[in-house]
């Protein structure tokens, strides 16, 4: 009997999940697997199947209205909602993937139980399984919950957003009235070549974003080091007081300082009026028109320097004094010791900080948006201004223009740029630089 019965059970295990386990004494496990199968089927029948079926087109019936004589209104007849189809379609796909994984597990478990039976062992009972989860497989228990959370609340929404880049979702295709659908790589083509106005704007903004990120990071970094060195210098008195002064700028919320500075530097702002009253200038200086880029760089420098100063002060004090001493004995001047000892040491310790600063600056929404809002506008740009970064351009596309497809495409491009930069620089500096190589 053994052979044929085993075959039947194995076959049954393919159709009814948990059959393999249940037949070999693992009843609780079998029931759980069967319950999973039932709930998946219910989910698909009552919810998922419809969305999955529409996933390829993202809906075909538009919303319409029909006259209702007795109520005297044009009653809404709901159509398909592309956004919901996309959202729940992705959810259904994820649930399906999870189910397929469970299904494979089920077959493997059935097979294991069969093997155990053949070898005359008793497959582990439910209680034993639970105990092993609490002991040698404890990592599974601990990390499953956070992993589920990450999947449900971070990864799935991300996939949803990424998918929008491959649709024509904008304000002329806005649910619930209109449908949107898949367009492949059309949005990427538009940004890169097929629409010269957009691609030119993209290139110009990308160029400025990179210039901004490099300059802003470098000025804050070296400015901070210089300031820290200055305060640390022997003979400077009231060190603590100077440091506290600069830390106060950190204590004020950044957006408050930015909005205040914006007022201060305005065409008719405090600074211009003061300078005019003192007779130093005739016409107001147009900080946010003629010198917008310089102004944002300068303000960012002013806001960013205290942070670097704080961080580097600690590191500077940590550089072994004997290094400097021996250098001095060998006749090195202050500039040489700075170049050969301070800078490499600092660079080694702060490389990760520098990289995060750089990446943060590429996406430095606050400074640009609160100071200039991307202005001055210019006809050289398509729906953007001269100080717009990719991220503020993206924001404007979403909030002002409801051009979700373009915004999503931009988001992906920004992600690729940042990802590439981070990987490259981490490999070059942080990962590659071993402590032995330093000195």
């Amino acid at each position: 009997m053994g052979q044929s019965k085993a075959k039947v059970i194995t076959g049954l295990n393919f159709a009814v999940m948990g059959a393999g386990c249940a037949a070999r004494g693992q009843v609780a496990k079998g029931i759980l697997l069967f319950a999973a199968q039932c709930s998946y089927i219910c989910f698909m029948v009552f919810f998922g199947a419809g969305y999955l079926a529409g996933f390829r087109t993202l809906g075909v019936t538009e919303q319409t209205a029909a006259w209702n004589e007795s109520l005297q209104i044009n009653e809404t007849i709901k159509g398909d909602n592309s956004m919901l189809i996309l959202l729940f379609g992705i959810l259904s796909l994820a649930v399906t993937a999870l189910f397929i994984y469970l299904y494979i597990v089920n077959i493997r478990l059935g097979f294991k139980a069969l093997q155990a039976e053949r070898e005359g062992r008793r497959p582990p009972t439910f209680r034993e399984d639970l105990r092993s989860l609490w002991n040698d497989k404890y990592h599974l228990v601990l990390l499953t919950l956070p992993a589920i959370g990450l999947l449900a609340f971070t990864v799935l929404p991300q996939i949803f957003m990424v998918c929008m880049a491959f649709t024509n979702f904008d304000k002329t295709h806005q649910p619930p009235g209109k449908l949107f659908t898949w367009v492949g790589f059309d949005n990427f083509k538009e940004i890169f070549w097929s629409n010269p106005r957009k691609s030119q704007t993209f290139l110009r903004i990308l160029g400025w974003t990179l210039t901004w990120a490099v300059t802003a990071t470098a000025t804050c970094y070296f400015g901070g080091i210089a300031l820290a060195l200055l305060i640390n210098k022997k003979g400077i008195r009231l060190k603590k007081m100077w440091r506290s002064f600069f830390v106060i700028t950190i204590a004020v919320p950044q957006f408050v300082s930015l909005l205040l500075i914006r007022q201060f530097l305005n065409d008719n702002g405090t600074l211009n009026i003061l300078l005019q009253n003192w007779g130093l200038i005739d016409q107001p200086i147009m900080f946010f028109r003629d010198y917008a880029r310089q102004t944002v760089l300068f303000v960012n420098f002013w806001i960013g320097v205290p942070y670097t100063m704080l961080i580097t002060t600690g590191i500077l004090m940590n550089i072994p004094a004997d290094l400097y001493e021996s250098a001095r004995m060998d006749g090195a001047g202050p500039f040489l010791t700075f170049r050969k000892i301070t800078v490499p040491y600092m660079f080694f310790v702060t490389a990760p900080y520098l990289i995060t600063q750089f990446v943060g600056n590429i996406n430095n929404f606050n400074v640009i948006y609160l100071l200039t809002g991307g202005e001055p506008k210019s006809l050289d740009y398509y729906k953007a201004g001269k100080t717009d970064l990719l991220i503020t351009w993206l924001y404007k596309q979403t909030v002002d223009e409801q051009d979700y497809k373009l915004a999503s495409t931009l988001g992906i491009i920004i992600f690729i740029i940042i990802g590439a930069f981070s990987l490259l620089s981490f490999n070059l500096f942080a990962g590659g630089g071993k402590e032995e190589n330093f000195q």
Binding site: I73, K171, P175, S378, V399
Partner: protein
């Protein structure tokens, strides 16, 4: 024990995640009117109706009063009317986030009408439509109408701009022409505000000279780069270079009107500030005429206002329409003017002595004769025209014609 602790922490983390997501989603659990469906929503009464109404922060007091009055006027039904603060400017984006959970009745700015209708988010207004059309001024009905269908209720007519001036510097006669205003400013060393870098304001020059239309594909059609448009641009440049003109807009007017600024172009929202700053010298009128291409041309503007719409996903559309009808009717518009000084669209209220005595609203009404409805303006218009205005303010170095060509190309893109 440590393991148990770690597990608790992990679950807490997950809970926190979930909680964050739930509270981040807007207006969860809003009443959608589950006690009533349209099928049974006809006349007899005796029903319980749940309505969600959106209105702006400043108008909440008015809205709550209107709701009380509505309940008193309709004792036959039990109304559970909930309000939420959504400003008119945000109504479109908030509603389209999740139309099903959105308000049944909501106030929005007229420039959102086309997008809302395009998104299928509005009920066509069919109940009592004849009365609505006849009791409101025609410009206001016009901004609620799209493709011949009435899509919203006109509530306020006050969004536009006109001239505020200091009577002690500029006489009523001077205020009629731009040349006289600029000359008077130059004589007295005072300045003039006309924010031509704001696309909304720049329109006064191009619309005075050209036309703005909409193609069948929904793309904007303009002729601002022909000879007339060029003349308008040159007149704008001449004003900027007149010596009396300064940059800035509302903030500058609030700060310096009457001190260093003798006149400025802005809207009804500035009226109270202007009265405070100018006192007895406070005056307002329509926009002046400007010398464009050798002729005196009346400057144009946009006409707009706040509308009230009914959500197409509403489960109680009939009641929603009846409430919106009441909210925008004569009594409530009079109350809105009385409580908040909001300009009415109702003909009887607009003709009342109180409204006529309001200088800013009178100037607005005067300018409305030369104004365009903002309804037909597409998003592409704003950025391109604003950018051109900025170029004018920054000082154009090349030929204005090539900039105009680029501007028109971007608008019609």
């Amino acid at each position: 024990m440590k393991k148990l602790l770690a597990l608790t922490l992990a679950s807490l983390l997950l809970l926190a995640f979930a909680a964050g997501c739930v509270s981040a989603s807007p207006s969860a659990g809003t009443p959608g009117g589950n006690t009533n469906t349209d099928g049974s929503g006809s006349q007899p009464g005796g029903e319980t109706v749940d309505l969600l109404v959106w209105g702006p922060q400043e108008g909440m007091e008015f809205l709550n009063k209107a709701i009380e009055e509505f309940k008193n006027a309709h004792p036959e039904n039990t109304y559970n009317i909930t309000t939420a603060i959504v400003n008119e400017g945000d109504a479109k984006s908030r509603l389209l986030e999740d139309p099903e959970a959105g308000a049944d009745v909501f106030a929005f700015a007229d420039d959102q009408l086309r997008d809302l209708v395009g998104a299928g988010a509005l009920y066509e207004i069919t109940r009592n439509a004849g009365d609505i059309k006849s009791r409101n001024v025609s410009t206001a009905v016009d901004i609620c109408t799209l493709d011949g269908k009435l899509m919203a209720y006109p509530q306020t007519g006050d969004n536009g701009y006109f001239l505020y001036y200091d009577k002690s510097v500029i006489s009523a006669e001077d205020a009629k022409t731009l040349d006289a205003i600029l000359a008077r400013c130059n004589d007295t060393g005072m300045k003039f505000i006309y924010a031509v870098n704001e696309a909304w304001i720049t329109a006064s020059w191009f619309l005075a000279q050209g036309t703005l239309g909409l193609g069948d594909d929904g793309k904007q059609i303009v002729d601002f780069n022909n000879a007339n448009g060029l003349a308008a641009a040159e007149a704008m440049i001449a004003m900027v270079n007149s010596g009396a003109w300064v940059t800035g807009w509302n903030e500058v007017m609030t700060d310096s009107m009457g001190d260093t600024i003798a006149a400025g172009v802005s809207g009804t929202w500035m009226a109270n500030d202007m009265i405070t700053k100018l006192g007895d010298n406070y005056a307002a009128t329509k926009l002046p005429t400007a010398t464009i291409g050798g002729r005196q041309v009346q400057l144009s503007s946009f006409f707009g206002g706040k509308l009230v719409g009914v959500n197409s996903q509403s489960k109680v559309a009939v009641h929603a329409m009846d409430f919106a009808d009441f909210l925008t009717g004569e009594t409530m518009q009079a109350l809105n003017f009385e409580m908040r000084g909001i300009g009415p669209t109702n003909i009887k209220v607009a003709d009342s002595a109180d409204v006529k005595a309001n200088i800013a609203l009178a100037a607005f009404a005067e300018q409305a004769k030369y104004a365009y409805p903002q309804r037909d303006v597409q998003g592409s218009y704003w950025d391109a025209v604003g950018a051109f205005g900025s170029e004018v303010v920054n000082g154009i170095t090349g030929s204005p014609q090539s900039l105009l060509d680029e501007m028109v190309a971007q608008i019609m893109e």
